[in-house]
Amino acid sequence: MTKQKFSHRLWIMPAIALFSLMLFGCNGNGNLSSSSDAAQKVYVAPGELDEFYGFMSGGYNGQLGVYGLPSGRHIFTIPVFSQAAVNGYGYSEETKAMLNTSHGFVPWGDAHHPELSQTNGETDGRWIFINENNTPRIARIGLDEFKTQEIIEIPNSAGNHASSFVTPNTEYVSAATRFSIPIDEDMSNMDVAIDSYEDTFKGTISFIKVSDEGKMNIDFQILMPGFDYDLSHAGKGPSDGWAFFTSYNSEQAHTLLEINASKNDKDFIAAVNWKKAAEYVKEGKGKMMPGKHVRNYIDHEEGGIAKSETIEEVRVLDPRELEGIVYFLPTPKSPHGVDIDPSGKYIIAGGKLSTVIPVHSFAKMSSAIESEDYEGEVMGIPVLKYDSILHGEVENPGLGPLHTEFDDKGFAYTTAFISSEIVKWDVENTQVVDRIDTYYSPGHLMIPGGDSQKPDGKYLVALNKITKDRYLPTGPEMFHSAQLIDISGDKMQLLLDFPTEGEPHYAQGILAEKVMKRQKRFYKLEENTHPQRATSEAQTRVERDGNEVHVYMTTIRSHFSPDNIEGIKVGDKVYFHVTNLEQDWDVPHGFAMKGANNAELLIMPGETLTLTWEPKEAGVFPFYCTDFCSALHQEMQGYVRVSPKNADVPLSYGTGK
């Protein structure tokens, strides 16, 4: 009986064998199992939210891209240094002034390094700063409304690249010249021969004080030798009070830098004691120098209208006269990034032409300064000895190391541009423990909180400079390619490719909840302080003042008030002050005027924005809502009648009620 049963079941055996073989087949296909595993890790189900915000600089689009991580979804773009026709930023009367500079209105900028505000060395979700490289500026973006709230120009600077990095309590945000420029006592002799570079060109490092409300002002600048200052990071923990700036072109070349600035074995990291410098400033040391710069800010007291002020002078500290504010750390081969590990003990340089990553010790640097263990000086700045400040060198770090970020387990991650990989190494013993290829040629990289004292070491984003075949081709020009890498385990794992707008230089990441809790959903109508607001339809009107016509208009689903206007004449300058009366989340209205030579307005609930229009010929011109606001959006339109200059059509308006 038992025997019979057993034999009956024998048929199962081949089935099991076959099944096992099939399973083996699946396991054998490493790609399949690893990509489904990766897909699980980045999948954010419909209706679910990402764990982190990623803020990727838009580079030459002058904007800041906002992404969800780990999904890589592009969720928003914040206009910063470039006009944005999409919502009228830089076109509307309320926002135009944000792009004012000492060179006049500059409609474009090259956005580089975003940096989140910090409290106690940790990202706090209040603001994000970003620098403009071309016409030196730093912007502050409020993360309550994802809008640029302030832009300050940096005087006596060119190529504002080593910027915008914050100190651990956002006391300061720093900036430095990538391109040195002619600088003298009274800034009177700027017209010099370029080959007088060595004698006349100087660099500056600027410290911008940030008030509790976020207001920025340039507290002081430090006069520096005429090198190129490249990147920066502030010290933290034991090194709090210091900031570190890489420099290259210590050769002081002014032409063909790719050869002429690559000669020296070592360039410098400038270690700046900003606390000491700030004390000098408090004592009234240094001197006021010409330094005309413009500060633009949103005036929240007056309707959220951007205003500009011009500041003529700036306080400049000269390290030849004021001791102990700058020291040079010799660092191999044109260092690019300088990154401070979360403990604040180590200063890591990405010597882009170097075969090792040098790791300086802050403790050794401090004792070398104390014992005045110098090998010389440059423009009054003591140069420390490489060997006496070195913690160690990371061997075999890949070719072209650029930038380093950190996790919360004592590891550093460095991008190698030329060998197109990310190298993971142990900060204490400087040994490489893992490496992963990226596609292709990473510049910056980002770990949420990865340059703060509290990294969230779960994901790493590689910001690659070269895209080639990673996406469907889009002609010669294409988006850059970012890659999400899981760094939670011992081995790095590539999870996701996603495209990024413009050219992300640096990026920042932050736990979503830190930002979400500050979110505004709309502006309260009763808090609208715009001088040209109309907070109810009863307040709408059209007024003529010479050839200026002011239309005080409202929008609510689904009509404009007024929507019929007559009595406008050729040669008039018409201001449409449009207030969105809605008080609900995500109900913007748009305003577009036929033939307007600027852009549309995209008006958030409770907000007032102004578009100007100068009609050039007689006729009837329609305007309409551009944002599909409701089922009757297509009905949301109106007409303006424009009569010849000498016509006597009286001013009239209304909704025909």
Binding site: E582, Q583, D584, S630, A631
Partner: protein, 190 residues
């Protein structure tokens, strides 16, 4: 009436003070466009949005289908109701003080009539809002009316409206229950 019964009656009257502080009725609405919901609470003297601007936004939506805007200041019931509850509290306390048992019945009778009248009024109000539509409304669905349910849920185009008593209503019910119980128990004395 025994002292303890008078205390119970006083409690039934005094707990009605709570009605002034919490909503009596709730109408909540769900729609795809309102993932967090939108709705209004009816209190003793007001109709207010469940969250800021809800009433304004409900009125904004209602104008498409031609419903009149809900304007609490133009609804006379909301000015009368506080006095009705004031009368119930005072008269309940008087009954507790004087200990006249049969008066509890009159008190309860008045209360129940007021409650029924309130619900009937609410129904008529809902009927009027839902049926008396502006003929110029942009959205006209043949045969469609928008009367909110008196109790329970009802699908109105894209919106699922749910009408339910709120805490104030339950306070009133408990007050009635305590008064009724007091009347019943105090009958043992005789």
């Amino acid at each position: 009436m025994k002292i303890s019964h008078r205390v119970w009656m006083a409690l039934a009257a005094l707990m009605l003070i709570g009605v002034y502080f919490v909503p009596i009725w709730s109408i909540s609405m769900e729609a795809p466009q309102y993932p967090e919901g939108i709705g209004m609470n009816i209190t003793v003297n007001n109709i207010e949005g469940k969250s800021e601007n809800d009433l304004k936004n409900i009125n904004g939506l209602n104008h498409y289908i031609g419903m009149k805007p809900i304007e609490p200041e133009s609804i006379p019931e909301l000015t009368i109701m506080p006095y009705i509850f004031g009368f119930l509290i005072l008269s309940g306390l008087v009954i507790a003080a004087t200990g006249k048992r049969t008066w509890i019945l009159y008190w309860l009778g008045f209360f129940v009539i007021v409650a029924i009248a309130g619900l009937v009024d609410f129904y008529i109000w809902g009927y009027d809002y839902g049926h008396n539509l502006n003929p110029d409304a942009p959205i006209k669905v043949p045969g469609m009316t928008y009367q909110p349910p008196l109790l329970g849920s009802k699908q109105l185009l894209n919106i699922n409206a749910t009408s339910l008593p709120h805490i104030g209503f339950y306070i009133a019910l408990i007050s009635m229950g305590i008064a009724g119980f007091t009347w019943w128990k105090s009958g043992d004395e005789e």
